[in-house]
C-alpha cells in the first residue's frame, strides 16, 4: 500500500511546481532589479493604482455585505414561505445560473447608460448586490435548520426580522461565511462588467486598471507585476487562512445540482 504512492507523490510534486512557478516568477520580476520593494512602493504611490486598490476594496466590501444581507432575507423567505410565487422565484434562480452572461452584455450596457449609472459607483455595485447563488446557498442551508427555535421565538412575540437576525443568522453562520468568501473572491477578480460599465481612470477596479495599464505604453513589467501581486495577495491570504471554508463554499453550489 505504501510503495505505489511514491510515484503519485512525485508526479503531484512535479505538477505543483508547474502550477506555482508562474506566481513565484511574477513575484521575482516584481522585486527586480535586485531584490527591492521599490516597485511596490511606486505602484502604491501611483494615483492610478492606489485609486484602483481603493475602488476594489470599497466595491467588493459593499457587494459582499449586500450579498450576505439579501441572501439571508431571500433565503429565509424562500425556505420558510413556500408559496407558488416563491417556488417560481426559486426556479428563476436556477434558470439564471444556467443562462450564459454574455447574452445580456449589450442590453445591460444600454440599461446602465439609460439609468445614468454609466461610469459611476452605482454601475459597479447595484447589478451585483443580490447574488442568485448566494440565495440558493442560504435557502438550502436554512431548509436544513429546525423550525422549533423560530416558532418558540414567534410565540414570545419576536418579529420576522428579529427572528432572521438573532436566530437564523447565527445558526446559518457556516453558509454565510462560505458566501462571504465566495462573494469577495468573485467580485475582487471581476473584470468584464466593471470594464464595460466604466470609462474614467478614477472608477477602475484593480483588474481593469491592470488590463488597461498594459495597453497604455511599452510594458513596464516590474511595475505591472508589482501591481498584479498587490491584486493577488489579498485573495491568496484569505484563501490560505480559510481554505476549508472556501472549498466548502465553492463546491456547495455544485453539490445541489
Amino acid at each position: 500500500m505504501r510503495t505505489p504512492l511514491l510515484p503519485t507523490f512525485l508526479l503531484l510534486a512535479a505538477l505543483a511546481i508547474l502550477f506555482l512557478f508562474p506566481f513565484f516568477w511574477m513575484f521575482y520580476v516584481s522585486l527586480s532589479p535586485g531584490w527591492t520593494l521599490n516597485n511596490f512602493k511606486d505602484v502604491l504611490e501611483q494615483k492610478m493604482f492606489s485609486r484602483a486598490f481603493f475602488n476594489s476594496v470599497f466595491v467588493t466590501a459593499v457587494i459582499t455585505l449586500g450579498n450576505l444581507f439579501f441572501a439571508l432575507l431571500a433565503g429565509y423567505g424562500l425556505a420558510r414561505y413556500p408559496t407558488v410565487s416563491n417556488r417560481f422565484l426559486f426556479i428563476s434562480i436556477l434558470a439564471v445560473l444556467a443562462v450564459p452572461t454574455h447574452v445580456v452584455i449589450i442590453p445591460l450596457f444600454l440599461l446602465v447608460r439609460k439609468l445614468g449609472w454609466y461610469d459611476t459607483y452605482w454601475a459597479l455595485i447595484v447589478p451585483f448586490l443580490v447574488s442568485p447563488l448566494g440565495i440558493l446557498l442560504l435557502r438550502q442551508y436554512i431548509l436544513s435548520l429546525p423550525v422549533e427555535l423560530e416558532e418558540a421565538a414567534r410565540l414570545d412575540g419576536a418579529g420576522e426580522l428579529r427572528i432572521i437576525f438573532s436566530i437564523v443568522a447565527p445558526l446559518a453562520k457556516p453558509a454565510l461565511a462560505a458566501l462571504a468568501i465566495q462573494s469577495f473572491w468573485v467580485n475582487w477578480n471581476n473584470f468584464l462588467f466593471p470594464f464595460l460599465f466604466t470609462s474614467s481612470e478614477n472608477l477602475r477596479v484593480l483588474p481593469v486598471a491592470l488590463a488597461m495599464y498594459q495597453s497604455y505604453q511599452a510594458i513596464d513589467w516590474p511595475h505591472l507585476f508589482a501591481a498584479s501581486a498587490v491584486a493577488t495577495i489579498p485573495v491568496l491570504a484569505v484563501f490560505l487562512v480559510l481554505q476549508k471554508q472556501i472549498i466548502a463554499g465553492l463546491t456547495a453550489g455544485a453539490l445541489k445540482q
Binding site: T8, L12, F19, Y81, P107, P127, L129, A254
Partner: protein, 295 residues
Amino acid sequence: MAGKNTGYLLPLPWTLTLLLIWIFPLVWSLVLAFADYNLLSGELNWIGLENFRRLLSDPSFQRALWNTFLFVIGTLPFTTLFALLLALALNRPVWGKNFFKASFFIPTITSLVVVALIFTKLYSEGSWLYRFLGQFFNLPSGGFLLSDKTALPSIMIMDIWAAIGYYILLFLVALQNVPQELYEAAKVEGANSWQTFWAVTFPSIKPMLFFIVTLNTIKSFQVFTEVFVMTKGGPLGSTTTAVYFIYEEGLHRFKMGYASAAAYLLFAIIALFSYFLFKSFKSESEVLAPAQTKA
C-alpha cells in the same frame, strides 16, 4: 409578526434584480437582434432577420465561431480528463495532499487578468520559456502570441492550467461521496483497480462529471478576458472568439443590433450543446444503471 406578505417581501430584492438584470435585458436584446439600433441617435429600425442573415455570411463572425469551437474542443476534454486524474491521485492517502490541492487551486482563485498578464510575458520573445523551447524548435518570431498559428493554442494551454483547480475540487467532492461499501464489495469479488473504477467509481461520479462538462462548456464558449488582455483578437483574427466579436461589434463599433443577434446565436448554440450533453448523459446512465446495482 409573521404577516401575510412577509413571504413576498423577503425575496423582493431578488425579484427586482431578476426583472432588471435578467428578464428585461434578455427581452431587450431579443428586440435589438431584429433591429438596426443607433446608440448615438437612439434610432431603432426594424430589419427582421437581416442581422442574422448578415452574420451567417460575415467571414469574421464565421471565424469567431470557428475559433470558439476550436477553443472548446481544445480545452474541455483536457481540462476534464486532467482534473479527474489529479482528483483520483489526490483522493489517495498521499503525503502532502492538502498542499497539492492548494497549489492546483491557486491559479483558479487568481484574477484571470493577472494570469493572462503573467502568461503574456511568459509567451513573449525574450522570456526564458521562449529561449528554452527555441533551442529545440523553430519558434515564431516575436513570441507565441504574435503568430496566428500559435496564439490561440497558447491561450488554450493557459486556460487549462488556470481552470483545472476548480474542477479537481468538484471531482474530489464527488469521489469522497462514493459509498465505501461499494469498494468493499468490489474487493470481495476480486475486482482489479481498473474494474473497480468502471464498476464503482465512474457510475458514482457521473452526475458530477455531467455537471462539470456542462459548466465547462458554458464557460469555454464565453472566453473573453484572456483574449482581451493577451491578443485583442489578433493576430489576423486568429483569437477573435464569439464573445470578443460581440464586444467589438456592439461596444466598439456600436452595432448593437448586430451584436445582440450574435449573442443570441451563441446562446442558441450553447443551449443546443447543453441539450445534447443532457440527452447523452441521460441515456447512458440508463444503460449503466444495471452495472451499478450489480456492484
